[in-house]
């Protein structure tokens, strides 16, 4: 579905993405993690065509993405910004979500928009002004306005950052439903629990390079690797490792493991 070959990019400031190689298959969910400044967002901006790579190739369904416009790439890769305010500009929820399909002169716009608003639990706010929505609702609106274009690959940048428990859970549930539909997910996040909940594979980045690409368990079990990327396991995962249950993020799962070994 998406193949990145020897991608290099350099900002004027000197920061470089160096020789990035990876492949994402259709329906796969991968997490890109790394500290601030490791190159996660620069990589994604290259994927969606906002930045143009200096060398290497990005293949989208076998076609060279460097020859596509941003709008053409957007039909396959939908990117949801970390801060929904960067994405929202219309004066009603309905208008915001209708903008893309109207530009592409799609058929049955109202039907598609209503369907997406229902999926993202925003239908009741259809006529509301986006800026009257809460942070969690705005985040879902940003997602809806991308989903309405039906991209096969969804890229989410820190989707639960700043959301309270209720809104974070709602968003995760929506993303899980999208995964079940077979959509490919690329998740950029610092939240290891979220990444382990939604992804089966992790790409670890540091200083513009991929330093590891593998299964969740292999990467989270490797303390040296995490230390290199300045990533710190949450307290519960540290405890579960010390108790020799491996890396566990879910308190209920850790309790079950602890009970089995202690009863």
């Amino acid at each position: 579905m998406l193949k990145v070959e020897n991608l290099c990019y350099e900002y004027e400031s000197g920061f470089k993405l160096k020789n990035i190689n990876f492949e994402v298959k259709g329906g796969e969910s991968i997490g890109i993690i790394g500290e601030n400044g490791s190159g996660k967002t620069t990589l994604v901006k290259n994927l969606i065509g906002l930045l143009r790579l200096k060398s290497g190739r990005i293949l989208l369904n076998g076609e060279d993405a460097s020859k596509m416009s941003v709008a053409e790439i957007a039909r396959t890769i939908g990117f949801v910004f970390q801060n929904p305010d960067n994405q929202i500009f219309a004066s009603s929820v309905k208008e915001e979500v209708s903008f893309g399909p109207q530009n592409l002169k799609m058929d049955k716009i109202e039907e598609i928009v209503n369907d997406v608003l229902k999926k993202t639990d925003l239908f009741k706010y259809k006529e509301s002004h986006p800026f009257k929505l809460s942070g969690g609702e705005k985040q879902r609106l940003a997602l809806a306005s991308i989903l309405v274009m039906n991209p096969k690959i969804l890229v989410l940048d820190e989707p639960t950052s700043g959301l309270d428990l209720r809104n974070a859970r709602k968003l995760i549930e929506i993303v899980k439903n999208l995964q079940e539909e077979g959509r490919t997910l690329i998740l950029i996040s610092h939240d290891m629990e979220l990444v382990s909940d939604l992804c089966e594979r992790i790409i670890l980045m540091k200083s513009g390079e991929i330093i590891a690409d593998g299964g969740i368990k292999d990467i989270f079990d490797d303390s040296n690797l995490l230390e290199k990327t300045r990533l710190d396991l949450p307290e519960i995962a540290k405890l579960s490792k010390i108790l020799e249950f491996g890396v566990v993020f879910d308190p209920g799962e850790l309790y079950r493991k602890w009970r089995v070994s202690n009863d």
């Binding site: 809460s134 490792k241 850790l254």
Partner: protein
């Protein structure tokens, strides 16, 4: 040090109250954590602590707020700000000077402090936040975590007795978050009164007291253990409980332990596997 007496506020008469009947005390040197779901009134409460509400952001305000025994209704915001420094979620909104040094000098210069002392204060504040080598740097070139440290340092140069931080780490990576909280804990250990607002309760589990807001009212107030023993209630109102606390609540409910634990080292003691502490 901070004393709220039956404070209520709404932005206009046509709207409901954002905060209702809020009363609490923070003692000198205490660390208070405030949490609550989105829209519970946390940020509004912060803006009341130095008088921005109702002096700059107007609305229908009732009740009294005292800082160090003084009614802030009778003080100008800048007078209250000498005692109480407020850090907001986005440090960008607080940084505006060309260099870090100029940024840190701005507050004390406006207080009329002598140049030599300002220099000493800048050195002291940068050392406290571990940013000495950035004295000549341009704030806009710093990372998010570094900017937040400079925002804290710029308040420290005013030598406030109270530091209030409203979701200070929500846009930072995990390591930067931990660094900011270590700085806050260090300042508290040095005697500074600290109030931290966080919807992520992980970072306030080391507070002396925690206050929980929901729909504009105080619904719980107590020590972290008193608060986190009610994990089911907290989750019901939309507050994330530290996973390690949730695990300990499972053990407590089934009678495996006598009380919850809040950290890995405490867990190893309670679970009688202290010998594994070296693995931490």
């Amino acid at each position: 040090m901070i004393n709220f007496k039956e404070v209520s506020f709404r932005y206009s008469k046509n709207q409901g109250h954002v905060l209702r009947n809020i009363s609490f005390n923070v003692k000198k040197g205490e660390f208070l954590g405030i949490s609550g779901p989105s829209g519970s009134g946390k940020s509004t409460l912060c803006l009341m602590m130095n008088g921005i509400i109702p002096k700059t952001i107007e609305g229908e305000f009732s009740g009294e707020v005292y800082i160090d025994g003084e009614d802030i209704a009778e003080k100008e915001i800048y007078e209250t700000s000498e005692k109480l420094g407020l850090i907001l979620q986005n440090p960008e909104s607080q940084l505006f000077s060309m260099t870090v040094e100029e940024e840190l000098a701005f507050g004390p210069e406006n207080l009329g402090i002598k140049r030599e002392e300002i220099g000493d204060r800048i050195s002291w504040a940068l050392k406290l936040v571990g940013m000495e080598r950035f004295r000549e740097a341009f704030p806009h070139q710093l990372s998010g975590g570094e900017k937040q440290k400079i925002a804290i340092a710029s308040l420290l140069t005013m030598k406030p007795e109270i530091l209030v931080l409203d979701e200070p780490t929500s846009n930072l990576d995990p390591k930067s978050r931990i660094e900011i909280f270590k700085i806050v804990q260090k300042l508290n250990r040095k005697g500074m009164t600290v109030v931290v607002v966080e919807h992520e309760t992980n970072f306030i589990s080391s507070a002396d007291k925690i206050l929980i807001l929901n729909e504009g009212e105080i619904v719980r107030y107590g020590t972290p253990k008193e608060i986190f023993r009610e994990a089911d209630f907290l989750k019901e109102i939309g507050i994330r409980v530290p996973e390690i606390v949730e695990f300990s609540n499972y053990l407590l409910k089934e009678g495996y332990i006598d009380d919850i634990f809040l950290s890995v080292s405490e867990a190893l003691e309670v679970l009688n596997v202290e010998s594994r502490k070296s693995l931490l």
